[in-house]
């Protein structure tokens, strides 16, 4: 890791103090997109899981994610697969400043990653299961992905070892945060199955809209602030971008999100006769996710295009997943984080350099899909045997708030009868 100038280090530190707003935004989205009877569990779960992931990552996971790493040689090239850091961040204060800031970045990143499967399991995923999933992510899955793509790992070194552009580029974490978390969301949805009554044996799927679209939209706005800081900090830390490049990184982040929102707004207006607030929020988030990999390395016009594609594809995918594939994903994390994350990685290759860079990005995508998706799925499948993911029928019927926390988020509200439970 080459030395980071003092001014860049100071700015990266300040940006990292703002970046956790992204975590707050996603927590609000998870809460608003679930049902009222599970709102408190969704929000307190988001906070608890982020806290657990942060502790476990600093204590153990960071050893696998940071440090010069352990490499084996194949075909005359080093393949750096595992970090060789220390447990409990021992001696952190004596480390170079970029190593300290890198750990801080990864700490917030793992806290964000674990919120994605949690949001997709809304209304039926038990808190204990969510905690175990978060632990798995903090200890094994995220550290591996982070080391490979950010630190001194073999994917980041594809440029120096195999002449593929600048190696795998993902400064904001489209791959190691959003795609990886999206895989967890997909696995959780597959393993837990849909909410009761979501897909009746016959007829159309039951609409179960989010209970508070104001939370959702507030989450989007909060996320934007965090995301701008996140992408700029990532550019400083992982690409060693000069300070003069940061305004464009932030501009691209905003352009990608706003273009995505405008397109989703239009698409839903055409599809349903009126714009859909919740899907528009998903489009906004998809634009932000796609910008994570690409904002620091592409031109503003390309960022606009990235956002347009993200905004076009997201509402169609959300509909496809629900209506055609019977996937019950309340937070839309699979379309918003997994698919838009993959698109962001591809876009970074398409618009940032020559064919070598594109190939590096494609290899990164192939590794994410071919290695991490099966790994996440089978680990979570095994975990489900030990700690059942799904709440029982009665818990789901009365709501996760009452069954897991003993009290509702909105105690004054009269609970509506739910036709899907008849």
């Amino acid at each position: 890791m080459s030395a980071l100038p003092a001014s860049s280090a100071l700015l990266a530190f300040v940006l990292l103090l703002i970046a956790p707003l992204t975590i707050a935004g996603v927590a609000f989205l998870n809460t608003g997109l679930g049902r009222a009877r599970s709102a408190a569990q969704a929000l307190v779960g988001s906070i608890a899981l982020a806290a657990l992931a942060a502790i476990l990552f600093v204590a153990f996971g960071s050893a696998l994610a940071t440090g010069p790493g352990l490499a084996f040689h194949l075909a005359g090239k080093p393949w750096n697969l595992f970090g060789s850091g220390v447990f409990f961040a021992c001696g952190l204060a004596s480390q170079p400043i970029e190593a300290q800031l890198g750990l801080l970045f990864e700490l917030f990143a793992v806290a964000l990653t674990v919120l994605l499967p949690w949001g997709s399991g809304a209304d039926r995923l038990r808190l204990a299961a969510g905690a175990c999933i978060a632990a798995l992510y903090a200890l094994v899955l995220f550290p591996l992905a982070a080391h490979w793509s950010w630190d001194t790992g073999w994917m980041a070194a594809l440029g120096t070892n195999f002449g593929l552009g600048a190696g795998f580029i993902d400064p904001g974490g489209s791959g190691s945060i959003h795609v990886l978390g999206g895989f967890g969301a997909l696995a959780v949805v597959w393993i837990t199955g849909p909410r009761h009554g979501k897909f009746p044996k016959e007829g159309l799927s039951t609409a179960m809209p989010g209970h508070n679209v104001v939370y959702v939209l507030f989450g989007c706005l909060v996320s934007l602030v965090g995301w701008m800081a996140w992408n700029a900090a990532g550019a400083l830390l992982w690409l060693h971008a000069p300070l003069t490049q940061l305004p464009q990184t932030v501009l691209n982040t905003v352009l990608s999100a706003t273009a995505a929102l405008a397109v989703t707004f239009t698409v839903t207006n055409i599809r349903f006769g009126k714009p859909d607030a919740s899907l528009s929020a998903n489009g906004w988030m998809a634009g932000l996710v796609a910008s994570s990999a690409s904002a620091a390395v592409i031109a503003p016009i390309a960022a606009l295009f990235v956002g347009i594609i993200a905004g076009l594809v997201t509402p169609l995918l959300v509909e496809l997943f629900e209506l055609a594939l019977s996937v019950d994903d309340p937070s839309g994390a699979i379309a918003v984080h997994m698919v838009a994350g993959l698109w962001g990685l591809l876009a970074a290759g398409l618009f940032s350099g020559g064919p070598g860079q594109l190939l590096a990005q494609l290899i990164g995508i192939a590794v994410l899909l071919g290695f991490f998706l099966p790994l996440v799925y089978f680990l979570l499948l095994g975990l489900n045997r030990l700690v059942p993911f799904r709440a029982d029928y009665d818990s789901e019927r009365i709501g996760m708030d009452l069954s897991e926390l003993g009290g509702n988020a909105y105690p004054e509200f009269v609970m509506h009868r739910d036709d899907s439970y008849r």
């Binding site: 090239k77 195999f162 159309l204 494609l362 192939a366």
Partner: protein, 60 residues
């Protein structure tokens, strides 16, 4: 069916990795990597199909 698709995914990944180890030419590398991604797309499709719940009547 459920697991078959997911077990196909690593095969695509190995194809992509083999490309950069075995070939120096960028065209051959790209072709191999794209083949790997195609295999992964196939595996993902099978996995998604395998996880779809059975619904009589289906969509209208």
């Amino acid at each position: 069916m459920k697991f078959a698709g997911l077990l196909v995914l690593p095969a695509g990944c190995f194809l992509a990795l083999a490309a950069i180890v075995l070939f120096a030419d960028s065209l051959e590398r790209t072709a191999f990597v794209l083949c790997g991604l195609a295999v992964e797309a196939l595996g993902l499709g099978v996995a998604i199909r395998g996880h779809m719940p059975a619904r009589s009547g289906g969509r209208r």
